[in-house]
């Protein structure tokens, strides 16, 4: 049963860890805009060259369509 003591402490530490992450995210405004990041992640890398873009254009099309 001694194990339970450790588990209790571990669960507390885990929960505190997630709480801190949540508070940090809320503080830095990551919940302010819940839409544009979902679009942003679909961009092709800006720095890629013309040629690579060409190869991917079909994908881009369907992706940007939401």
């Amino acid at each position: 049963m001694g194990m339970i003591y450790i588990m209790l402490i571990v669960s507390l530490c885990l929960a505190v860890f997630f709480l801190v992450i949540f508070l940090w995210a809320a503080r830095t405004g990551q919940y302010d805009d819940d839409y544009s990041p979902s679009v942003r992640i679909l961009y092709e890398d800006d720095q890629t060259t013309n040629e690579t873009n060409q190869n991917n254009d079909g994908n881009t099309n369907s992706k940007v369509r939401q």
């Binding site: 709480l19 949540f22 302010d32």
Partner: protein, 795 residues
């Protein structure tokens, strides 16, 4: 059928097409963003990505740049800039046109259109773009022009940097409550499974841990409920937060007693869950339309700066710095920022937004022009006679904002809570009296148990979820309410007051009726020539009407236009009654007379065009509401309005803004709850005075006066459905109340009989909350509101 639906949605993002549609390669797009992305991509596949000029097809517009000249002035631009270091500038612009994924895509790739733009980030809910540019490569005014050209005109008037703090605090509270709820529940599991004194070590540890994490929940997450309850007690008005606060305290104290008596963690899990659910309700209800401004002041209607003439050269001057006696220039379609005297020979002004008068007004040299008018035509020169602060319009506005006498408005929830508190206290007393005979030792336990289960958690969740959901659904349909309290207010309204110009009639659109002898082909050709180069708006309108049925042709005949009077050509005359030589018969300023050699051929009558399906709307509203129309315009449309409004309707014409407000005051003094629907500045006072003020907006981008709700103008025809839906909200709420009371009664059954264990409470409380929340969602969703996604909505 397949084809039809395809026609009606954007080729790129599949949104329903709005009124203004963009075309490329025979495909229709909902916005320039979608079109640009399509063009980028299609050019892309041809291997010429960078050859593609995203700005192709749009003419450079020098005038446009002048409009944004304020951004190039070191002093004036300060209030817009977030940060500047050397030539690198970061600026946050409000772009009201942002509405879809393509918009974000296009605007975050601005650096491909201009090298001077280093970075741009979109904040979608606020509809703002934060753009970093290098001033050496692109001026701020050029940036604004670029944005305007690609379809996102910056709106400089409503940058609000302070929003979001309320939301953040709520998120913190929610996070901490959620953390405590999850942890305590986990630690309580041994308790649920029947742990007893044999393992008192584990039991005590989990109890003390629960106690530790519950402290921030009580002190931080729940503090608003205590504050509200205290305020309620102090003001001697019972609100729902009082039984909630009592319940929370009962839960907490009882649990603490249990913990320190080493009897397990008590009801700490219920306590944390309770706060967590309540906060979720609050968060759900707190949805706001960050990008809409319900509180605009007069400043946001005026331009930021005007051109001031100083000797030979002109400078840009902020309207706050204008002095009496300054000479200013106002260009076509610009708004006059202060009361002025006209220096140019003449000016044509559109005051429809300010006074409700639909016709343009001609002013001559030396006339006094009031602030707020829109100059139509050539650039005019003016001398400032009163500063903006002291202009008539500004004073009217400030008057309109003489804070609505804070009606002591009790929500339905608060009215219920009165009975609720009485019932709970009565029950607790009765139960304790009964237990004197059974087992007096248990009395404190029974009383706290009653207070705990009677805590109206589900009841408190009903309002946020029923009304919060309605708010969202209405928002999707183009009817934006400021907050959920407005829903209850609208339910009470019994008197609808409409403004006429811009509300019942469409802005900028007029119908022309022709009375008189039939026009021959040559008459038409003559008219066509006469009006070809005309300046007067009526003549222009006649020309547009004629050009629908005939093609342009050249003629050497010269038409002579006498400003403000009429046009003559080759013995034909077109203009006012006096101009064509008629005795002033029935002076109607909205009529244009057409005469040949002094003999009247016919009359063109200009009539306001009523909004589409207005007749049906009024017919549906008539039985439920008393109706009235107040207008700043002349009573020329009275006959037209009489045909669609029921007989008891009150019509008031030529009403000054102050009179409109007084009319509303009069109605309310008689015990009516008025709902005012208007669109212009002239309605601002009345909108504010009314129990509920709804501002109509053509495109949500244009300026609207301060109001409780904003309705898309094209959806006015559905107002009856919206109001009906909102009235139904009462019933939805009642059903939810009934359900949550059932749960409370069940709980009280357990409590009175002394069987309320922490385990029962843990099950009962979330169960009731979840039932009420899903019930609220189901009830409000069930109704189908117009406009529907496809079909009749986009005719």
């Amino acid at each position: 059928m397949q084809n039809q639906t395809e026609e009606k949605t954007c080729y790129h993002c599949h949104d329903v097409l709005p009124n203004t549609v963009f075309y490329a390669d025979e495909h229709a797009f909902c916005c320039n963003g979608c079109k640009q992305v399509y063009q980028l991509l299609s050019a892309h596949s041809l291997g010429s990505y960078y050859e593609q000029d995203a700005r192709a097809g749009i003419r450079p517009n020098a005038v446009l740049q002048e409009n944004f000249a304020v951004l190039d002035d070191e002093e004036l631009r300060k209030k817009y800039i977030d940060f500047q270091e050397g030539s690198i500038v970061k600026i946050t612009l409000h772009l009201p046109q942002i509405h879809c994924a393509s918009c974000i895509f296009l605007l975050e790739h601005l650096h491909r259109l201009n090298e001077g733009i280093l970075r741009s980030t979109i904040h979608f809910p606020k509809k703002t773009a934060t753009i970093t540019i290098n001033l050496e490569q692109i001026k701020l005014s050029e940036l604004a022009v670029l944005l305007t050209k690609i379809g996102y005109e910056p709106d400089f008037k409503v940058i609000d940097k302070s929003t979001g703090t309320f939301n953040k605090r709520l998120l913190f509270q929610l996070g901490i409550a959620g953390f405590a709820f999850g942890s305590i529940m986990l630690w309580s599991f041994p308790e649920y499974l029947g742990i007893d004194h044999t393992y008192s070590g584990i039991r005590n540890l989990s109890s003390y841990l629960s106690f530790a994490v519950s402290i921030p929940v009580l002190l931080f997450s729940a503090q608003d409920y205590f504050k509200s309850a205290m305020a309620g007690i102090r003001l001697r008005s019972l609100n729902l937060d009082i039984p909630i606060a009592i319940g929370i305290l009962a839960l907490y104290i009882r649990s603490c007693v249990a913990i320190f008596n080493q009897e397990g963690p008590g009801y700490m899990d219920s306590f944390a869950a309770f706060i967590f659910f309540l906060l979720i309700g609050k968060w759900f209800q707190g949805k706001t339309y960050q990008w809409l401004s319900f509180e605009r002041d007069f400043r946001s209607y005026f331009p930021v700066a005007v051109i001031k003439k100083m000797g030979d050269h002109t400078v840009l001057c902020s309207i706050d710095e204008l002095q009496v006696g300054d000479e200013i220039l106002i260009r076509n379609e610009e708004i006059i920022p202060c009361d002025c005297i006209l220096l140019s020979d003449k000016a044509t002004l559109d005051y429809s937004f300010v006074s409700g008068e639909a016709d343009w007004i001609e002013k001559k040299k030396g006339d006094l022009l009031y602030a707020g008018g829109k100059s139509m035509g050539e650039t005019v020169r003016l001398v400032v006679s009163k500063t903006t602060e002291r202009s008539i319009l500004t004073q009217l506005w400030n008057d309109g904002h003489s804070k609505k006498t804070e009606l002591f408005f009790q929500t339905r929830q608060d009215r219920i809570s009165k009975y609720f508190i009485a019932a709970v206290i009565g029950l607790a007393l009765a139960a304790s009296i009964a237990w004197i005979w059974i087992d007096p030792v248990q009395i404190p336990e029974i009383v706290t148990a009653i207070l705990i289960v009677a805590c109206p958690c589900a009841l408190a969740l009903s309002v946020p979820f029923v009304y919060g959901n309605m708010l969202r659904i209405l928002g999707k349909k183009g009817f934006y309410l400021r907050n959920t309290a407005i829903i209850e207010r609208i339910q009470q309204c019994n008197y609808l007051v409409f403004d006429k110009t811009g509300t019942l009639t469409e802005q900028d659109h007029k119908q022309i009726h022709y009375n008189g002898k039939a026009l021959t082909k040559s008459d038409k050709e003559t008219l066509f020539q006469m009006t070809k180069h005309a300046v007067h708006p009526y003549a222009k309108a006649i020309h547009v009407l004629l050009s629908e049925s005939m093609t342009d042709f050249e003629s050497d005949q010269q038409a002579i236009e006498i400003t403000g009077k009429g046009i003559s050509m080759n013995g034909f005359q077109l203009g006012s009654a006096a101009f064509v030589g008629l005795k002033e018969q029935n002076t109607d300023e909205s009529a244009v007379y057409f005469a040949r050699e002094g003999e009247l051929v016919g009359t063109f009558l200009f009539q306001s065009k009523l909004r589409h399906q207005l007749k049906e709307l009024i017919r549906n509203l008539g039985p439920t509401y008393s109706l009235a129309v107040v207008s700043g315009d002349k009573p020329k449309d009275l006959d037209l309005l009489r045909t669609i409004f029921p007989s008891g309707t009150e019509f008031r014409f030529e009403q000054q803004p102050l009179q409109k407000k007084e009319f509303i005051q009069g109605l309310q003094a008689k015990g009516n709850y008025t709902l005012m629907i208007g669109d212009g500045l002239n309605d601002a006072g009345a909108l504010n005075e009314a129990f509920v003020g709804i501002a109509l907006s053509e495109d949500l981008v244009r300026f609207t006066p301060a109001s409780d709700a904003i309705l898309k103008a094209e959806n006015l025809k559905y107002l009856d459905s919206y109001l009906h839906y909102i009235r139904n909200g009462k019933r939805f709420l009642r059903i939810c109340f009934a359900f949550s009371l059932c749960y409370n009664l069940t709980g009280i059954g357990f409590a009175v009989s002394g069987q309320l264990t922490p385990f029962v409470a843990t099950i009962l409380m979330p169960l009731s909350s979840i039932t009420v929340v899903s019930l609220a969602t189901f009830l409000t969703l069930r109704r189908e509101l117009p406009p529907h996604k496809t079909g009749s909505a986009s005719e």
